[in-house]
């Protein structure tokens, strides 16, 4: 049942431009994968394709053996889009409870996920009155609802302070240890070191796939930023 993500020669063309080109990738359950790459390299497009809202022009992909875009996958995949998707004119709790209801799960699960993202105290506040980072966490709470097998998180830690970021990475690791597959995209290279595996995207193609330590040794760079720059230039 739970067999992870399998991407085969996936391609996406948007307005005549190849945005993703011939991507192949396997992600096992229990893997925490960092998806990195320059701005515009296609990270969000890849996640949106996996979650079924971006039309794929070539190749195929399955999640737990089910083709992406299938209705059966919709309660198995948790997703945080890059721009926060919540109703600004509802309270935090009303947002999470509505999405829980649409997933068909008990609304008491809202309490659990709000605790996880540290928003319990703000539950009665309108989303429009939250800070940027707090607003992002509402979307994250929604993604954690239910029992997803796969979490696709598009820059979930943007705008968060180091303490909160540490806390959330702790949550991600816990979920991984429970056998979930997680894909987390980020610009912040320091976050790379927290993943088991890094996948680097450049202009719609994978240019690296390996552990954080391999990334450092392969490029000979002392820092993750340095390694990123070296790799992106190298393959330009």
């Amino acid at each position: 049942m739970n067999s992870g993500v399998d991407v085969q020669h996936l391609g996406v063309i948007r307005r005549g431009r190849a945005v993703l080109r011939d991507l192949s990738l396997r992600i096992e359950p229990g893997e925490l994968v960092g998806l990195l790459g320059p701005s515009g390299s296609g990270k969000s497009t890849l996640m949106r394709a996996l979650v079924g809202v971006q039309r794929v022009t070539s190749g195929s992909a399955t999640i737990d053996g089910i083709p992406i875009g299938s209705a059966e996958l919709r309660h198995r995949v948790g997703y945080v889009a890059q721009s926060p998707a919540s109703y600004r004119d509802l309270t935090v709790e009303e947002n999470v409870r509505y999405f829980a209801a649409m997933l068909g799960i008990d609304s008491s699960d809202a309490d659990r996920v709000l605790e996880l993202v540290d928003l319990s105290e703000r539950r009665r506040d309108l989303v429009s009155s939250l800070s940027g980072g707090e607003t992002n966490r509402v979307s994250l709470a929604v993604a954690l609802l239910g029992e997803p097998q796969l979490l696709l998180l598009d820059e979930p830690t943007v705008g968060l302070d180091p303490v909160l970021r540490e806390h959330l990475w702790g949550v991600f690791r816990q979920l991984r240890d429970r056998g979930l597959a997680l894909v987390v995209s980020s610009h912040v290279m320091d976050e790379a070191s927290r993943c088991d595996r890094l996948v680097l995207l450049r202009a719609g193609k994978f240019i690296f796939d390996g552990s954080p330590s391999t990334l450092l040794s392969r490029t000979g760079a002392g820092t993750y930023d340095g390694a990123f720059i070296a790799l992106v230039k190298d393959t330009a």
Binding site: V51, R55, Y98, M102
Partner: protein, 241 residues
């Protein structure tokens, strides 16, 4: 389509409105206020309000509900929440149905207010049966909602959505028979005017219309509401290209 998801979506939209009382007040009171203003302007001309007033009950709710629905749904599209919903086990019909149900309730209150005030405070006499103007006002509001849902797919910004009002509503107003009776329109225009949704609303409330004719026009409006709702569900796309 699931009844549970539809009603919960309607409940969510009503909750959003509850947090925005200013919009609710505007939506509920503007049509009644406009009819009241018209009654006032015609105070020195006995009989005129009875001739024009009923027909405007078919115009104002449509306009107001069209605007409020297209802006609300457009916001759902642009804020990313629609895309997020479509990654969940939710059908397009659930979402469209939820909007239709929520705004049906709004249109219901609005139509009761506008028709009720017209027949009491504003001194409307004609037609005898206040249920007919109330029903047509309600259907007119639903028409606005249904077309707002369908057309908001064409808008990519709230600015464009607002521009649809003069583009979609005003031509219908010109052709609805309020200014020139439809039978006096030039040939090409008359055929167009005959099939426009707003014409049906105006005609159903024409004091000279027979009960049978009014019933027919009412059915035309119902058909338009259903058709536009289906169109709204069809134009809602799950994937982007």
């Amino acid at each position: 389509m699931s009844l549970r998801r539809t009603t919960l979506t309607a409940y969510r939209i009503v909750t959003q409105l509850r947090h925005d009382l200013r919009t609710v007040a505007l939506v509920l009171l503007v049509p009644a206020g406009l009819v009241g203003l018209l009654a006032w302007t015609l105070l020195q001309r006995p009989g005129q309000f009875d001739a024009i007033g009923p027909r405007l009950l078919g115009v104002f709710p449509l306009t107001v509900m069209f605007l409020v629905t297209s802006v609300t749904t457009l916001r759902e599209r642009t804020s990313g929440t629609l895309e997020r919903l479509l990654t969940l086990p939710v059908t397009k019909a659930d979402i469209i149905g939820g909007y239709a149900l929520a705004f049906f309730l709004v249109a219901l209150v609005q139509s009761v207010l506008v028709a009720g005030l017209s027949y009491t405070a504003f001194g409307l006499h004609h037609l005898g049966w206040p249920w007919r103007p109330s029903l047509v006002a309600l259907l007119s509001g639903l028409l606005g909602t249904a077309f707002g849902l369908a057309l908001s797919a064409l808008a990519t910004s709230e600015f464009q959505a607002v521009q649809f009002m003069p583009a979609f509503i005003l031509p219908q107003l010109l052709l609805s028979g309020l200014f020139v009776p439809v039978s006096d329109l030039p040939a090409g225009l008359r055929q167009v005017a005959d099939v426009l949704p707003m014409s049906a609303a105006v005609r159903a409330l024409q004091p000279t219309e027979t009960l049978r004719g009014a019933t027919e026009q009412t059915l035309v409006m119902v058909a338009y509401v259903v058709g536009a709702l289906v169109l709204g569900a069809v134009t809602l796309r799950r994937h982007s290209k």
